[in-house]
Symmetry: C2
Subunit: 342 residues, 2 copies
């Protein structure tokens, strides 16, 4: 009898995660905490997390939601140009990064940055660079939906050259233009989601309209997906896995005017394993993409956790506590066999 | 007291209309018949309308649904390469055009053409040219959703040059490439919808996902909309208004995997009037776009009907017999004051 193929991943990290708050946080936190060692937690609550008290309190609520799971929430603040050195020094031990949103660009980002004037941003960003706090950026302009990210690349480049000591992470990149920017500036990094490795706009709106595949940034063109796949599969040292898993209640996704966000936390590792296998890439590269690169870039040491996946059909549930995941009711090639700690 | 601004349109024509069948036909036929003089009726029923008996019977069902309204349904057949001269001669008095669908490209088009081999199509298309039957074409490949129509332009050009005596109508064009093709071949014409003059992909998927603006071809880029507006506003002699109004039940639009189609019949003339006014274009041009050009291109003389619109706020109903229209519950600048016959 042939043995079932197994893949072992050590300390998987999700470097871009929305855990939300309140009932939703309680409902979905374990979907990440059970299989990931740690995750960068996005701060776009209502109101956004922007004080030491808020970030400490939010972390406590997350720790409550994950109960006994060994999982480190890497906390972030919602960037404000008014952050100064004194404030950042007082908060730096409580956060791993700061997230910058252009104003009004995605869910709960109304209080974000509306101009990208280097001098206006200099006090905050220079202090972050000096303190070694990375800047995570949602890089979209308010232009035409297919152009927003490519248009933002010039802003990434402006920030990267103005603040060469600041680590800037281009979050959830979706275009070949962002991939190309990676190699132009030493201090530009990127996260890539699993869904952007799988889908294009065709999957969202090419046949029927698929609200559960609708996200921001929207999935782009086939050549963009190819560019993302290339750097993910080679575990390019400047790219990290970040799911951007973003739960919404079922009714908010399936009504008229559906909210943006794809929920992938509970299936991300299974999908990534399948993607690397299908492309005949060693799982060593997957290990680097899903953990090693992030450890190097952020300088973090996550808690030990070993996830064993096996090649057996896994039917994705229709929902996880009321949240519909990507590929609900479809069958994946890998399932999680066990998770070991320590 | 200033008098209310009025606009009078004579014999408005909708040169691309889906009236469906059965209960839906009964529910929505009057939305067209009350304000248009005539319309080209699409044949993509299940099964598609492809025999004389079927087209005669479908016309009777339409006439039943429109009751006493003075409205001519210009009937069409669903193109099959097997149509020969004998068949076409037998049916020509019952139809105004024949509609070609690439296989599987939109709602109920599974039986369409899957190759575009000129020699395979020659018997049918030569006979149509000889009999003066125009060919209406849904011009999309099965490529990436934003490229499908532009990719199809080479097929339009192949057909136009192989069959110079055949009038070919590029239906519901959405791209600058199709607009450019208009002037390259004498026998290429086009219909343009009202929604493609108003929206881009931004409106469908740039903010929240909007199922009621999802259609095929999908709305494209701002520069595409500009190209469409230019030829519509100048009433380019080769373009005609065709709504492509395509009703679906509310549940089919607002569920997971929403069907393609925008329902505009009852608001099309109000919207067109507003568009021409906003662009400071004489309503004489609107008259030509919405009736004159179609009469010239098709050689038809529609029944007399005069629609009087007045500039008074019109709140679009939430639904018409269960079908949600474009701009439901929003307020338009013009309303229909009266319709006169004879």
């Amino acid at each position: 009898m042939p043995s079932t193929k197994q893949v072992v991943l050590n300390a998987p990290l999700d470097m871009h995660l929305h855990l939300r708050d309140g009932e939703m946080l309680e409902n979905i936190a374990l979907c990440s905490a059970q299989t990931f060692s740690a995750a960068i937690i996005m701060p776009n609550l209502v109101p956004p997390v922007s004080t030491k008290e808020e970030v400490v309190a939010y972390k406590k609520r997350i720790e409550h939601a994950i109960a006994d799971e060994k999982f480190t929430p890497y906390m972030t603040l919602f960037f404000k140009p008014s952050y100064d050195k004194v404030f950042l020094e007082s908060v730096k031990d409580h956060i791993t990064a700061i997230k910058l949103y252009p104003a009004g660009i995605t869910t709960n980002s109304e209080g974000g940055v509306s101009g990208f004037d280097v001098e206006e941003l200099r006090p905050a960003l220079s202090a972050m660079a000096a303190l070694g706090i990375p800047l995570c950026v949602h890089g979209e302009t308010n232009g035409f939906v297919m152009d927003r990210e490519a248009e933002f690349v010039s802003i990434y480049e402006k920030l990267a050259s103005a603040f060469p000591d600041l680590k800037i992470i281009m979050e959830h990149i979706t275009t070949k233009e962002s991939v190309a920017a990676l190699d132009k500036f030493e201090n530009l990094y990127a996260t890539i989601t699993v869904h952007h490795l799988l889908i294009t706009l065709d999957d969202v709106a090419g046949g029927m309209l698929q609200p559960h595949l609708f996200c921001k940034p929207i999935a782009k063109r086939p050549e963009d997906r190819e560019a993302l796949l290339k750097v993910a599969l080679e575990a390019h040292p400047k790219v990290m896995f970040g799911s951007d898993s973003a739960p919404h209640p079922k009714h908010a996704k399936e009504s008229c005017g559906c909210a943006a966000g794809v929920f992938t936390s509970p299936i991300a590792l299974q999908l990534l394993t399948e993607i690397f296998e299908k492309n005949n890439v060693s799982f060593d590269k997957l290990q680097v993409f899903v953990s090693g690169n992030a450890q190097n870039i952020y300088g973090v040491t996550p808690p030990a956790k070993t996830v064993v996946l096996e090649k057996k059909p896994f039917k994705v549930p229709s929902n996880y506590n009321g949240v519909v995941p990507m590929y609900a009711n479809e069958t994946l090639a890998y399932r999680i066999k066990e998770v070991n700690h320590g």
